[in-house]
């Protein structure tokens, strides 16, 4: 009765409610679009990182068994023999002269064998989803079009991929140099930005009074956080790479790694650039953590006669440290994924040597992904996808650490 009465009083009520539910559906669909985009992203990467490939060999891997041990299980000595027996003497001597056999690892030797003995190359590939769905068709097609090829289910993300160096051949290329480069740059960035960032946060929260200069500093930090990362790259190029070339290339310390290419495009320049980039983030995050420490703690400390610094060092910081660390870890995960500033600072396009110190040339994981993605051959997209998985796993574990830290130390307060 009341319904009919109210709809009589307001004949548009039904229409209004209908509009309401239509819009609610629209809002829900929008939310779904966001989730679907995330899933599509993950699907797309996974699809490229695994799947069937046709590999053509000059020599079949089975024929290289030694004392009944398959190629991939052989020891260093066995691999060395296998290599020696299957390549020309000239080639063997060339590698010997280059020092390739001085301290070889199993992976190094296996890669050599794959390149020079097996001469394996991928001639065709399929996505993971397609490989699962149309297995029979793919097998038929592969047998028809590539009678000499072998159809394999390949995971591009594999242990060899993690420990191999950069290579022109997609099957042997790995991310070892890139991961080490990423770790080096991040290490330098944090060593530089963490103390300064936390120091600035302590100053702004504990010492700064409301003066003109302090307001400028605060506004300025907020604005710096919004500057596009590529601008930091240009700053790094102008200051660290060019103006401070003597220091960043190591020439000032007499530790020039490679006198022929002495320039400032080194791990140190890249690390400092990333340090500048994350500095505002660390400051803002630390400020929030310090602000969350209750005022009563400080007052109690002053009441017992502690000085300002004693209060900060013994009471404020220990209570804020979990928040500070969480914020720092989140900043690190931002820095690890940064690509553009490092391209501008001058990451090397192709290096095989591991970075050995702050004055080495460098490449990082995202830069490796960029370079592989930019290549025209499809097969490099597969290893780009595998490298993306490595990067995402790295980021995920960092974020998990941040959450763990937050939960663990939050209870103590």
């Amino acid at each position: 009765m009341s319904t009919s009465k109210s709809s009589k009083q307001n004949p548009r009520l039904k229409a209004r409610h209908r509009t309401g539910s239509v819009w609610q559906t629209i809002f829900m669909i929008s939310t779904l679009v966001g989730i679907v985009a995330l899933l599509a992203l993950l699907y797309n990467i996974g699809d490229s990182a695994f799947g069937y490939v046709v590999v053509e060999y000059q020599v079949l891997p089975e024929s290289l068994e030694r004392d009944g041990v398959a190629l991939e299980d052989q020891t260093v000595d066995q691999l060395l023999l296998t290599f020696q027996e299957n390549v020309s003497k000239g080639l063997y001597r060339r590698f010997e002269a280059e020092g390739a056999f001085e301290n070889p690892t199993e992976v190094d030797l296996e890669n050599l064998i794959v390149e020079w003995v097996l001469e394996a190359r991928v001639v065709e590939g399929w996505g993971f989803w397609e490989s699962l769905r149309n297995r029979a068709e793919i097998q038929a097609q592969a047998a028809k079009e590539f009678p000499n090829g072998q159809l394999e289910m390949r995971s591009w993300l594999n242990p060899n991929f993690l420990v191999s160096r950069q290579s022109e051949t997609a099957m042997k290329a790995g991310v070892r140099t890139a991961i080490l480069g990423s770790l080096w740059t991040i290490f330098i960035a944090i060593t530089f930005a963490f103390p300064i960032g936390v120091g600035a946060a302590i100053y702004l929260e504990e010492y700064a009074t409301d003066t003109f200069i302090n307001r400028i500093i605060q506004t300025n930090i907020n604005n710096l956080a919004g500057v596009p990362s590529i601008i930091y790259g240009m700053l790094g190029l102008a200051i660290f790479v060019r103006a401070l070339e003597k220091i960043t290339s190591g020439a000032a310390f007499g530790v020039l790694e490679d006198p022929t290419t002495a320039n400032g495009r080194t791990v140190l320049s890249a690390g400092l650039t990333l340090g500048l980039l994350v500095l505002p983030l660390i400051i803002i995050n630390s400020q929030e953590a310090i602000r969350a420490v209750p005022q009563s703690l400080r007052q109690a400390s002053y009441g017992l006669g502690a000085t300002k610094w004693q209060t900060v060092w013994y009471h404020v910081l220990p209570n804020a440290i979990s928040g500070v660390l969480t914020g720092t870890i989140l900043s690190i995960s931002r820095a690890i994924g940064e690509t553009a500033p490092l391209v501008v600072v001058g990451a090397s396009t192709f290096i095989r040597e591991d970075p050995s110190g702050p004055f080495s040339k460098f490449t990082t994981l995202p830069i490796q992904i960029y370079q592989w993605t930019a290549r025209p051959q499809d097969v490099f997209r597969n290893i780009a996808a595998a490298a993306i998985l490595v990067l995402l796993i790295l980021l995920l574990s960092l974020n998990a650490t941040a959450i763990f830290l937050r939960n663990r130390y939050a209870r103590r307060l």
């Binding site: 995330l38 400028i216 610094w309």
Partner: protein, 387 residues
């Protein structure tokens, strides 16, 4: 009594303020940490400004596609050049190899010149040497022309700015409606539990490195668009695909900031609207949204600034080579994409490319900084504060 007065004296002595050197040093150090941020800003402005200034003041060399027709001796003041290419006017400074000359008169293919101009040394030049003409880049030219190719003397920034605007507009068309809808859904419709799951899930999107989005744009979005609109309509590298993916990247930023603004609107306002008989949607659109408009506007502006500065997606998916086009299905190079491509190669200092990059960088910096300051102004000026 005497005992107490003694004590008082002792206390007086102790109460005097001691200079605490360590404390002062620490405070100075902490201040220096904070002040470093100002130094960084100055560094950015100074370095970008310095190189950009060089770009506008130094002499740039242009190729008119002409070469010497005969051998030129160091004493000749007349030189014969090929007739093809752009015309050379009197009073132009030309350069052959390292020597500069001032053209005094032109008669067809023959130039009268003053040798050894600008303190260069006159030298012999064999036949077939290329001629370069000097010119300055004017700010007017920089901001009005639409062709960008520093190597042949084309300095119209619009070719790059246009592409940046194209990708950003497309990104906004994706991110603003979807982001705002998500924000309204999370804040007004979703249960607390759902909200606590969805919000962090969406924020994962914001944490994915942009190079991964670039990969996604090139290997997923572009093929998808091409299968919808046709292979011949859409080029492999195009601004549409890059723009859409930037939009996806920005969705969590818009939704998160807008949701915070919506969430800050007090419940009493909603309850008052319900009390007057408004439906949930009417409450959301006519009461909550207007109350949170400053926060939402700020979110939109920050999103635009983020889209301007986005680099890796456009560097991978939008294509190489500056091009002035309004067709989103064609390739074009944005400001950021251009910086990355040029600096990724072997870039020599003091070259025209190097200086021009900083001019582009300065423009980008001014654009994004302006937007960020504008968004802060909006929040300060229009924020409704509820008790």
């Amino acid at each position: 009594m005497t005992e107490t007065s003694d004590q008082i004296q002792i206390t007086k002595k102790d109460m005097r303020r001691k200079p605490r050197i360590a404390e002062t040093i620490i405070q100075t150090f902490l201040f220096a940490c904070g002040a470093l941020s100002i130094l960084i800003t100055f560094g950015i402005v100074y370095e970008l400004g310095k190189e950009a200034l060089l770009f506008f003041t130094l002499t740039q060399w242009e190729q008119p596609n002409k070469e010497t027709q005969t051998d030129v001796l160091r004493t000749d003041d007349r030189i014969l050049i090929s007739t093809s290419g752009t015309e050379i006017l009197p009073e132009t400074v030309i350069r052959i190899e390292d020597e500069q000359m001032l053209v005094t008169a032109v008669q067809g293919a023959s130039l009268s010149v003053i040798r050894g101009y600008n303190e260069t040394i006159p030298a012999d030049h064999p036949e077939g040497k290329e001629l370069m003409t000097a010119r300055k880049v004017s700010i007017v030219e920089f901001f009005t022309k639409t062709e960008w190719n520093p190597q042949i003397g084309k300095f119209g920034i619009w070719a790059l700015v246009n592409a940046t605007l194209m990708t950003s507009v497309i990104a906004m068309l994706v991110a603003l409606p979807i982001g705002l809808s998500i924000a309204i859904y999370l804040s007004e419709y979703a249960s607390d539990k759902l909200r606590d799951t969805l919000k962090p899930t969406l924020e994962i999107l914001a944490g994915v490195p942009t190079v991964v989005y670039g990969y996604f744009a090139l290997t997923f979005m572009t093929p998808l668009l091409r299968s919808i609109f046709g292979q011949d309509v859409i080029q492999i590298y195009n601004t549409a695909s890059a723009g859409i993916v930037i939009g996806i990247l920005i969705i969590p930023l818009v939704s998160s900031m807008s949701e915070d603004a919506l969430h800050a609107v007090p419940l009493a306002l909603r309850e008052a609207a319900y009390g007057l008989g408004a439906t949930k949607l009417e409450t959301a659109f006519q009461v909550v949204l207007p109350a949170a408009i400053s926060g939402i506007a700020a979110a939109f502006i920050v999103a635009i600034s983020r889209a301007f500065g986005e680099t890796m997606i456009v560097a991978i998916a939008a294509g190489a080579g500056p091009k002035f086009t309004f067709n989103p299905f064609e390739s074009a190079e944005t400001m950021t994409g251009h910086i990355v491509r040029i600096s990724g190669g072997d870039l020599s200092y003091n070259s025209i490319d190097y200086n021009s990059l900083f001019a582009i960088g300065l423009l980008l910096f001014v654009m994004t900084l302006g937007l960020n300051i504008f968004s802060q102004m909006i929040v300060r000026r229009f924020r409704e504060v509820y008790e």
